[in-house]
Symmetry: C2
Subunit: 205 residues, 2 copies
């Protein structure tokens, strides 16, 4: 393999170790030593790729975003599904309904908090949030065209609300067992998506 | 004043200094030394009241919750307002629409992240979230009785969604200028409350 590919693979492998560690033991366990043990690579190798604990955590955030976007792409690219089905899948894909998504939510929550102290982290989070809203808005527009949602839907407000509601539920579920139980109910995802069918999400004259 | 009252007053004064500091310079600046400078008390006095930086931050969280509940009480106790008006006021009171509420949101976001690492912080956050949902649910029930909201409202789901949406918007607004701008629009709070008028918040047979 060309050297650059090996480097990229190693970086990804180390970033995956950051995520596994964060998922299993919390973000506090993500240290150069911890990731070295988790990945099987030496501290020397770790230091070669990441100059600080902060860079390690950043690599974890980027990897989490990358995995999240791969999941979105798979949903958006699915054949024979309506836009409304895609909206359900996109919503479910952000809620911590299994270990993988729980790990993601923990990592994102950590970076949300980081974002109040670091302008770099804040910009990255804002960028991710903006992309997520745009993606959901496009699917909302497609769903109105297909007749799955009311034609007078204000897609911009509906996207703002649906992503913030999903985000709020995801973050709260990590902390509050009642919210975790609520999002695991059979119709929970459908009800979250149904909130866009309110007067709040309609165009106003 | 009895000694215990002086103690309580001093604790509150120091906790207020924690919040001012967190609001102005971020939670990272909340150290024993920083709070000593902010409050004008010596590090010795600080150490007498709070054994560690963690205890200082906890005092800040408790004070933020206390202030939040005082704001809720003022809203709930207001005469000549409908339950629906109270719902609007409760929602506005959580969104970071001024410096005070922005500081609160920053402090809560810090403790949300803490809650993924500390069981003690997690329990406190879950307790606060549970109380907030119950309070909003009671006002939703009152609004249906008054005819301000549909009689078949599922107050439990509507309260879960409304609090999570408000929470999500508040946290995202701290990080993302687009969300901050959106919640400052003239009808933003009304539209957030309007989301409960969707099929998601109706009782199902």
């Amino acid at each position: 393999m060309p050297k650059i590919v090996v480097h990229e693979e190693r970086r990804r492998e180390l970033a995956d170790a950051v995520l596994s560690l964060a998922a299993r033991e919390g973000v506090g366990s993500v240290t150069t030593r911890g990731v070295a043990e988790e990945s099987g690579w030496s501290i020397g190798v770790l230091n070669h790729y990441f100059g600080s604990r902060h860079e390690l955590l950043h690599a974890g955030l980027l990897r989490a975003s990358e995995l999240q976007y791969a999941a979105y792409d798979a949903i958006l690219g699915a054949a024979d599904t309506t836009a409304l089905d895609k909206l359900h899948a996109l919503t479910a894909c952000v809620l911590p309904l299994d270990e993988r998504r729980l790990a993601m939510t923990r990592v994102f929550l950590f970076f949300y908090a980081e974002g109040t102290a670091s302008e770099d982290a804040r910009t990255r989070i804002a960028d991710l949030l903006g992309k997520w809203r745009t993606l959901v808005r496009d699917v909302l527009v497609a769903a109105t065209r297909e007749g799955g949602l009311p034609a007078d839907l204000d897609a911009r407000t509906a996207a703002l609300h649906l992503t913030a509601l999903t985000d709020g539920l995801a973050l709260e579920a990590v902390l509050d067992p009642e919210v975790m139980e609520a999002i695991h109910q059979p119709e929970a995802v459908a009800r979250v998506v149904d909130t866009v069918r309110s007067p709040a999400g309609r165009s106003r004259a």
